[in-house]
Amino acid sequence: MTSASSSSKQTISLEEWECKMAEVPIAKSDLNQLIMNYLIIEGYKDAAEKFSEESGLQTQVDLGSIEERMQIRYAVQSGDIRLAIERVNDLNPDLLETDARLYFRLQQQHLIELIRQGRATEALEFAQEELAPHGAEHPELLRELERTMALLAFDRQDSPVAELLEFGQRQRTANELNAALLAAHSQPREPKLPALLQLLAWTQAQLDDKARYPRINSIVNPVLEEPADKT
């Protein structure tokens, strides 16, 4: 915002804006829905159950499947990829067969775990037998495999691919798998709440060009901040 352009901008006062906000028709059930959606997708099963009970909100989701999904996520996060694959196959036998990329991701994570544990020989065998064959069909996966194998060539600290050993890598793999499981059950992959925050950022940025108005400047503590006086 430059002062030159802002001088022509209209200012909407806090009182005026609060009236507009108060006029927004809002269904309590919509807010509850947003929360429920978040709990289910992020896998807070007990909270979802309790919330369903207290809010009277019906959910079509089998809450039991949340638990299974969370156990799978936990297995990946704790590095037990074998267990995760087993459970995925129990829950959804077709998923890994049809999604080669996802399957590769999990295998890659398993390889990373072997390397982390210093089981180099095992890692090499696993890479050659289980992973390399996929490379022919998916060249981009082969590059990923090469990156992973580079872990064996470097000292951990200076390795250019050290990020693969970080917890974030497990997290990424777990998220990818979680999203795929949700999609397989025709559940949205992403919770809706973050999109609402994006809507907030977008609408505020759009109106910033046109007017001064009470903004929300922090989603951690969302309060209306009075528009700054013209200077």
């Binding site: 006029e23 927004v24 809507l199």
Partner: protein, 450 residues
């Protein structure tokens, strides 16, 4: 200027009735109402019932600032697609090649996409592409049709019948585009940086030195209350007067709650009695006259302590009202006081209470006052039937009340964070679409984000 255009009884068909000899015989007709403000995409169609002599028919849009003797597109502020040559025009008479010409029995559509600020046309249900971009959408825009040769005849369809073109599909794509744009938005600016991660209270008070002062005080006040917990040593007492002093300085609105202030002041009196417990109040009443003119002075001779206490009660309740604006936070630290001074403060305080509330029309206040003063009727209040008043625990609910009152003045949110964000988004979308933001007009919080 003669109209040359006859509008049919259906209000949507128009026929050219003029001589149709030259360009000055051209006429344009606009819809009665402009395109509504909160609109993402607007579309209408025109059926060419007859091309007439030459088919000089222009279909398009126009502001209402230009003349009605021109085809849409000839003048600035108007846009048109012409049937004779298939050219599109905007603000000049020559136009440029755009689509095929149109003639009798053709259906021509015209749409404006407020998100892209572009105008497009269709012919017989086929999209012909965007003809104009960067359209000035800040002023009202009207559907407009122009004709200039004899026999030309059109019928407009503003949606009262199904359209030839699948506008629903176009709108749904525009809707998806708008959502995609929103989903690309970063929320980084709305997340506080780690360096300024503070509790809400601190954040709110970080505005200036005065605010800092307030934060300090509310914490100090809180500490004052915790000191009243029974776990603290017996000498630790709720310092209500200084809490009142802090409130007076930092949260004067809280003191507008007279019932709360009354309760606090009674409690302070009780605290004074607690502090003085163990002394015989009567013994400590100074014999000089400095106590106050209201004191009769004769009660010092009474030996019986019970009576003396009653006397001191009388000393309070008989005192004349001394109206003054109460300033709180004046009582010194009770622990360092010698008995005589403490008792004097106690009596003065009680006298002030009596002066301020003794004549209160509120029976609850009067009763509370009597109840409080009745402590003085006992030589040993701690062993009296009303000793419960002295229980330090009795402070707790009062402390809660003060906390609530402070929070209420802190402009504490009356709604959840989620609701606040939801309402802000919805209010912003309404505001933006009324300002011709096409993307905002295409989305809504409840259908797209819940």
């Amino acid at each position: 200027m003669t109209s040359f255009l006859a509008v049919g009884a259906d209000r949507v068909s128009v026929r050219y009735t003029g001589p149709g000899k030259g360009d000055s015989d051209a006429r344009m007709i606009r819809s009665d109402h402009p395109i509504p403000a909160r609109c993402g995409v607007y579309y209408y169609e025109v059926f060419i019932r007859s091309r007439g002599q030459c088919g000089y028919i222009g279909i398009g849009l126009s502001h209402n600032t230009n003349g009605a003797t021109r085809l849409p597109g000839w003048d600035p502020g108007s846009w048109g697609y012409h049937g004779d040559d298939g050219n599109c025009f905007s603000g000049n008479g020559s136009g440029r090649a755009y689509g095929p010409g149109f003639t009798t029995d053709d259906t021509v559509g015209c749409g404006i996409d407020f998100k892209e600020r572009s105008i497009f046309f269709t012919r017989n249900g086929l999209f012909l592409g965007h003809a104009f971009k960067s359209v000035d959408t800040s002023k009202p825009i009207f559907p407009a049709v122009g004709m200039r040769t004899a026999g030309e005849h059109i019928v407009a369809n503003f949606g009262q019948r199904p359209f030839r073109f699948d506008i629903e599909c176009y709108v749904s794509e525009a809707h998806q585009d708008a959502l995609a744009e929103i989903h690309k938005t970063s929320i980084g600016d709305l997340i506080p940086k780690p360096s300024d991660q503070t509790t809400p209270l601190e954040a709110k008070n970080a505005a200036g030195p005065r605010a800092d002062n307030r934060a300090g005080h509310s914490q100090a006040a809180a500490r004052g209350w915790t000191a009243a917990k029974p776990s603290a040593s017996t000498s630790a007492r709720a310092d209500i007067d200084s809490a009142l002093g802090m409130l007076q300085e930092s949260y004067p609105q809280v003191l507008k709650d007279e019932s709360l202030v009354f309760q606090l002041r009674c409690r302070q009196f009780i605290e004074l009695v607690r502090a003085a417990n163990g002394y015989h109040i009567a013994d400590c009443i100074p014999s000089d006259d400095s106590l106050s003119s209201a004191s009769s002075g004769s009660m010092m001779d009474v030996d019986d302590t019970q009576a003396a206490s009653l006397m001191s009660l009388a000393a309070i309740t008989n005192a004349p009202a001394a109206p003054s604006k109460t300033v709180y936070g004046q009582i010194p630290n009770l622990r360092k006081l010698e008995p005589a001074r403490l008792v004097r403060i106690l009596l003065d305080y009680g006298r002030q209470l009596q002066a301020d509330y003794g004549a209160s029309p509120n029976p609850i206040v009067r009763e509370g006052l009597v109840h409080t003063f009745s402590l003085l009727a006992y030589a040993d209040p701690a062993a009296s039937p009303i000793s419960a008043l002295l229980d330090p625990e009795a402070c707790k609910p009062l402390a809660r009340l003060v906390e609530c009152a402070i929070v209420a003045t802190e402009k504490a949110p009356r709604m959840s964070a989620l609701e606040c964000i939801y309402r802000q988004c919805a209010a912003l979308l309404a505001e933006l679409s009324s300002r011709r933001n096409g993307a905002a007009a295409l989305v809504s919080v409840d259908t797209d984000f819940v």
